[in-house]
Amino acid sequence: MKVTSAKAEGLSVLDRPNSYIGRGVPRPNLDRLMQGRGLYVSDIELPRMAHVVFLRSPHAHARIVAIDASTAKRMPGVIAVVTGEELANTITPWVGVLSHLKGLKSAPQYAVAIDRACWQGEAVAAVVANSRALAEDATEIISVQYEELEAVTDMRTALDRETPVIHPQLGDNLAFERILDAGHVDEAFSGSDEVVEADFIFGRHTGVTLEPRAVVADWNPAEERLTIYQGTQAPHMVQNIAALHLGLSESQVRVVCKDVGGSFGIKVHIYADEMATYALSKLLRRPIKFVADRVESFNTDIHARDHRCRGRIGVKRDGTITVFEIDDLTGIGPYSMYPRTSAIEANQVVNLVGGPYLAKNYRARARVVFQNKNVMCQYRAVGHPIACSVTEGLVDLAAMRIGMDPVEIRRRNLISDDAYPCASASGLKFEKLSHHASLDKLLDMMNYEGLRAEQVELRKRNIHRGIGFASFIEVTNPSAAFYGVGGAKISSQDGVAVRLDAQGAVICQTSITEQGQGSEALTAQIVASVLGVSMERVRVILGDTDNTPYGGGTWASRGAGIGGEAALQATKVLRRNILEIAAAILQSMPDELDIIGNTVVNVGDGVQRIELKELARIVYFRPDTLPPGIQPELMATRHYVPREYPFAFTNGVQASWLEVDTETGFVRLLRHWVVEDCGTIINPQLVDEQIRGGVVQGLGAALFEKCIYDERGQLTNANMADYLVPMSGEMPDIDVGHVVSPTLESELGAKGAGEAGTAGAAAAVANAVNDALRPFGTIITEIPLTPQVILAALGRI
């Protein structure tokens, strides 16, 4: 490798010679996945392993009168049939509440239902057999006598006096309520020239990870240790929860996370069937494997969104937005999820509405109600798509009312780029955002004027195209303010240990996890750059509670910003240690030496002095040749958590260009643009692909995805043929641009990028559809924007 410059002074640790920071280098270890040689949980087999299949309630709400499994238990290959009552002796129930969400309540949830099933799909018995097929056969001949109870399904009537209370001991079906009143809302409305109001409706949808949830739990009674192989985003959280409810110490539980077939927030929660699998392993003293089938995935993977939000906006004729007000209602199923709770999304909606804008008057109410449907909880971009769609929908409606261009009203109201640090009306602290620079860049990329001209031309031929914008803010790098302060044992800090091995290669253990985002790559890039070695020399180990430092994992766009900073700081220490030893060996001073291209060099003239491989040889095998008093430490560990800001907010803006077929109601996406600001970009290719993937999940919500329940609480489209997800043929190319405002809280300066795409995509599409339909005088504020919704709005059906 050519040494380009040995002058390290004045350069930060990130822009040293041969730095990988900011380069789109390929992720390590992709060949394993491309050759079919990965190891997903569904691939794992262990000696004496048995398979569990859950018998699930066909009713949304029913009393379990009797379970007769006598015939099933006699079937060949069946090892056990276990009811909820029997399993409760091994694992205790839980209640999904957090103390900082004041007033949040929920009822005890059991691994397998006892006495009563509260949603269609809740497990009522577990069947363990030598194969999954045999266990499935056995579930079919278990006879369960149910007494069907009235199901609470419509969130709008869940709080009515006539509606049954799902958990009588809670008094009502209200899980959580938050009210916020900032500034002078009533005065602001009365002082506005126009007030616009709309009801925004969001379909219930889900993550559809391509690999269903899967777990292999292996209780070894001889070691008294439980090893859990699970595709989780948060291994230490799973360790804590499993130990807590099985009556074990955390040191008795190891969580191993190999390859994960998609997560998106679906795999960051604790599910009843997974808890049951841990308990069954302990009860039956052997490895037990659970792999959800696709119908189970739809019925039990957390659902998300399902909000109805009334929004109001006040605006002056000059375009000044004076006030926002929302009244949000969401239904979360019969239990608040554990341990992150199901109140976070509504709470986020309250936090985020109006976030990009200057208006200081803001009133919000959010209510979270129980219902007899599948549980709801945090999925990618928690709350953001709701808040963004409501905010951006209202801004467009206001612009339309006063006859102002949607870009112009945003320019007049977005927080100015030089106003930071500042706070939102809801109290969010912003360190540095770049709404105006982002909008300017977006308009350049999309040729806004050209598209408007094209739109006018095409309208003459009865072709209806629309342009929609959505500015957004995004929560990333959460501190303990997210969960820790509420009492959840979910770590907000991360740790990285980095060491030089005996041949001069680097082994890095990190507590963040990999589900395809590129955690491994960005960690290797940071370590290689800061240390001064080539990336091929760095091996990253993650996803194993026995073999990584303690930490939060990968969720809420925290891996790069928090885990990356820990990697940077650990590597700085290792580098200093190496240079001290090198100085001793070379009779030089640490400050006069640097590491470039796997070799210790002189800072002054760049002359190569000693290869790391040779240094490691001396340290590990000939320490007798080192000067007395030197104890080399070729391993360093550092932890990091943000303390100054509760969250590192990012921002961005999206635009959609689409065509609405007013005869069929179909929407054709033509192009999509995103400009976002995630601070320091470690790997531009990985960031861009996070954005694109996020956008497409948002486009799915905008156009296709919806869990359709009937009035009895039956999910009617619980399969991939009827629940539509975006396919390649209907997705547009997505152009991504960046503005870079690093956070000054960390040396790395990175914020997250995982939610940005999903946060604003649906809002941009909905605004574009309304823009396209402008000649028809109709406004749609409901997603998914199915042909049925559009044709109904046009009065065609």
Partner: protein, 161 residues
């Protein structure tokens, strides 16, 4: 239940003789009996494409085909296509373009993409998007995959010229 039935087939060029239950599908046979876990199971009803394999000369959904139906056939899985080097350039393009994130759809996606490139060496982006529409990817948003397939088609054409 009907008892096991003998089958004989070639998988990735190796002869395989087995006794299988009539209800066993090809995906489960490959994964559980032959431990070829590169063939993934996503939806178990022929929609998502994660289990796509090549049976003789056609790509099929291994979850929709019974193992007994593969009797006498030659099956290629992602392990076979990787070891033979047939899709080495496509895999390199996927790596360079980051056309995979979690990787769960990738074996099926590579199978489908190679099928397209064998039939149509010069596909347009629309054609690529259309051909891959039976393979779901939840991570990438597809654009990187389309780019990688397009780049492979171009470089194969360059080599052929």
């Amino acid at each position: 239940m009907t008892g096991p039935i003998p089958i004989s087939l070639h998988v990735n060029g190796e002869r395989v003789d087995a006794h299988v239950l009539p209800r066993l599908n090809l995906a489960d046979f490959l994964r559980e009996h032959l431990h070829l876990t590169g063939t993934h199971v996503g939806c178990e009803h022929g929609v998502c494409g994660a289990c796509t394999v090549r049976a003789d000369d056609e790509i099929v959904r291994a979850c929709l085909m019974l193992a007994v139906q593969a009797d006498g056939m030659s099956i290629q899985t992602i392990e076979g296509l990787s070891d033979s080097g047939e899709v080495g350039d496509l895999q390199a393009a996927f790596r360079d373009r980051n056309a995979l994130q979690c990787g769960y759809c990738t074996p099926g996606m590579l199978m489908a993409a190679q099928d397209l490139l064998r039939q149509h060496p010069e596909p347009s982006r629309e054609r690529i998007r259309e051909h891959l529409s039976g393979n779901y990817c939840r991570c990438t948003g597809y654009q990187a995959i389309v780019d990688a397939v397009e780049a492979t088609a171009l470089s194969r054409r360059g080599r052929a010229a």
